[in-house]
Amino acid sequence: MGQSALIARRSVLRGAGVALGLPWLSSSASAASALPSRPPVRLGFMYMPHGVIMDQFWPKSASEFLTSPPPALQSLQPILDQCLMIKGISGVPISPFNGAPHALELSTWLTATLPDADTRGRVNIAISADQIMANYVGPQTLLPSLELATMPQTWKENQEGLHEAYYSHCSYRSPTQPVPAEIDPRNVLNRLFGRRDNPGQMVRANPLDRQMLDRVLGGARDLRRTLGRNDQMKLDEYLDSVRAVERRVAAIESRQQAAAQEKSGRRKDSSTAAAPIEIRIPEGDKRSEYMQVMCDLTVLAFQTDTTRVSTYIGSTPNGVSYPELGFTNQHHSQTHHENREEMVSKVAAITKFNIDQFAYMVKKMAGLPEGDGTLLDNCIMLWGSGLEDGNRHTRQNLPFIIAGRGGGTLNTGRFLSDVSGNQGDLLTTLLSCAGVPLDRPIGIATKEISEMRVAGK
């Protein structure tokens, strides 16, 4: 998909995080944000479009989940006790947009909301679950949230007159503001940890930058007063985004101070955290290597508490093929398989491939000590799709795999075969497990799914 061109050369960055992104430290966390000395809960989402081959995805029964998991889940076997699978979560009903199943699978995924029908030519949906969390926990970290994708978000296809962006965006900062994702791992690394491969290019944390931004914001507010209402709303998006940058510069400053104090022995690293993981940016254009480096970046961002919320659009609807699997057919065309064996097996291979990358990420997290347990213990990592059966576009039992114990809130190692709830209920439950207070339900939610939780937590 053209990533090869972006990733020009092999580069190995050892311990890239040492200077800026420190592993979560009980000492610095309590100093910086007055949090209790417990690792924070992180929430990550990873997406694949077009649904799954159902009988290769859903476990046969609750009891066989751990002992003989279905083929799609093979790569997760070593950590299935830390996973939770739930069947019976329905997607948002898509009427009146019946002709737009693929434009809606991603855009409704984290919003649990349909686009506004009267203004369908513009983006008008709802804030997404990840951004709700980013609003709450974002100010405490370097980045409010991290958005990654494998393919550029420029797919042009008009379904039911819906704005094209619905095709390729899952994160919405406000109803009208889709959050673009990054597709170049090198840029992500720069953003997380500064430009270490090119010294002198980036002014890292210049306190004057923060004060300069503050004055620019003042000027922007003057400008705002002279504008019409629509223009004012546009400028508010600008103000919001620049304030996030200000906070980031401030957070970098305080981390640099903490690191300096540690170095001079004035402060002690009392945590049991492991050294930051190593990032290798691949040279070729193998999809698996590319996706794994994006997964590594997510792990590193969580491990170093650089952010606590992430989304990764592992693949986008339409136009995507998987040459690495030995065939060039497009994912979408194969999902309309009409039960033909060859196509079914291709869809199964694509699904397994995507879950394998997810498994790579969460297994890595399970191997990183943090606090009294592992990084994964303090995470909620969700893999899923926006359709159940791509052949018939059904959304009754959306496929989801959750990994991680969410700081002890999720009761893992189980397959809940008959949950009754919707996408909004699931997102509401996950945010609640992550400690995010909600002032209203997410999208179509009506309740929390209490079966998922550890009793009393």
Binding site: M1, G2, P96, G99, A117, D118, R120, G121, R122, V123, L143, E147, P152, K156, N158, H163, E164, A165, R173, T176, Q177, P180, E182, I183, N190, G200, Q201, M202, V203, D209, Q211, R215, V216, G218, G219, A220, T226, L227, G228, N230, D231, K234, L235, E237, S241, V242, A244, V245, R248, G319, T328, N329, Q330, S333, H336, E338, R340, E342, M343, N391
Partner: protein, 640 residues
Amino acid sequence: MRFPLNRAVSFVLRAIPCCLLLLPASQASADEISADEAKLQAEARGVFKQQVTPFIRKYCTGCHGSRPEAGINLDSALQDPSATSSFLHFQKAASSVKVHDMPPEHADKQPSDEERQQFLEAIRCLKYMAPRDPGPFVIRRLSRIEYGRTLRVLYGVDESITAGLPDEVPGEGYLNSISPMQSELYLEIANRVVNQVLPPECRKQTRRPHPVLGRVPGRRDDPRAMARGVARNLARGAYRRPATDAEIDVLVGIFDLGRQNGLSYTESLILMWKGILVSPQFLFITPATPLASTGTIAPLDDYQLASRLSYLLWSEPPDAVLSGLADRGQLQQPEVFRAQVQRLLSDTRLSALFDGFGAQWLGLSGLKDQVFDPQVYPQMTPTLRQAMLDEARLFFLSVVQENQTVFQFVDSDYTFVNQSLAEIYGLSQPVSGSAMRRVKLQDPNRGGVLGMPAVLASTSFSTRTSPVRRGVWVLEQILGERVPPPPPDVPQLQAQDQTSRKDLTLRELTQLHQSQASCTNCHKVLDPIGFGLENFDGIGRWRQTDASGVLIDSAGVLPTGQSFSTPAQLKQVLSSRRDDIARNVIERLTAYAVGRPLEGYDELVIDRLMEKIGKDGYRMRTMITEIVCSDLFTYRRVQQ
């Protein structure tokens, strides 16, 4: 049968003086509508009441009333027919009635064909009922491309300095939003720019004046006054308009901030310069004058107009000529503005219009990254793909710059090739080397976008052609029809190598569509067009037989009864739909120019443009000129 209103309308339209269609004299209030327009509105209301309302009440509101089926509420749309939301509902209703999708087969009452026809004619009156409205010209963020080119033009840095910003869809689908990630990058890129233009090691105070920051103050100079001058100068370029005194105060405040923190004069100016580069006035196209508090629409000011035009045609900020005219307040004079449009259209920088508009219109944006099976198409190298795109670009620009008619896109007798592309074309004349050159085409099957390899490849799958995709492409991109997506539960055709239907040709396989009622309606239109192009393989080479050796049968009949047996004849059949072809390009260009989908009042403007541009035979320079002189481009909405 022509509906009486249309005749009346076209008569009145011809009577409307040009100035109404173009830039109105600035002294007249923008809100005033002419007597002619008022008359049109009154007539339209009458037609709506007599012809549209009864039809909808009789056949539609039973289901699409207060408990709206499929979200279509025609009850409330009848209450306020000129509202934009109503327009969408009516549009949907009309397209369903047109293809006999509605009323459903099981409904008790069915309109006669004549009733349907009358309803479809009458509902066109809606656009005359809408109030004059250029749409919200929300302050617009520069796209990634525009931002990069602006930095290049202003400071001489390479456009690649914007690395890291996400790719964007320009035009109608443009996302005019901004996220924390983008803002972070704007700050980082500002740092890259200043470090590249003035590397830290060169910031020691020197005698020689710097092209961006000027000279260093001497003993008798007032550094703060000099900084103010630099601020004014930098802001004029970056904001694309003169900065207000208050804006200059903010910038000098940033300079002071640097001085107070012990920075040198030059370092303090650099901090201020960075402030400019992350300001909304730089990142967005903002008005020079505060919004008037009265009226509903207002003309763009000279500076906004200069920016809008320059970014549309060049993806660059206004040059010295445009800026000078804006400074002198002359750009709103129709003859001055038109002359500038001509100047911009003649420049090589017009190439940006292909990158932004042409490639998107022709569906070529994804060709670079499209997957082709190397076993089937070993020729499809990056070099060949580039040549294909270059051909499309050169062809597009030649049609526009030479002021050819829009129909040249569909049928023409020349193109641009290099050696590898000439091989795809199978040209008999010798073409060698990688340079593109203009060649005359003898083969009537070639010439125009339908026989162009870039288009033929973009509409193919990785291993074979797709007649359905090609059919959809012609209907949507050339004729401007909207093809509804296939209903759910419908599988795509399997590739030719699949086993169960091995003995069927692709054509026979595709014709299975037409054996199912739910598919027939669309596929009886789509498939013949697609098969008319089957002589072109998946990367645009001419062929007589398909991959399995079966002779290609490219004959077809359209629902209109027009038949054809070669791509050349198909092109002729399509060329007969002149109005549809012209309207499609006008609509797409207009939506691209205003950066939003067209709605309500826009239809009226398009109708007027059709008439005006049609008088000149739908020539491309004329088309672009009239679009950018229309209300939609030169006015903005003041308040809802």
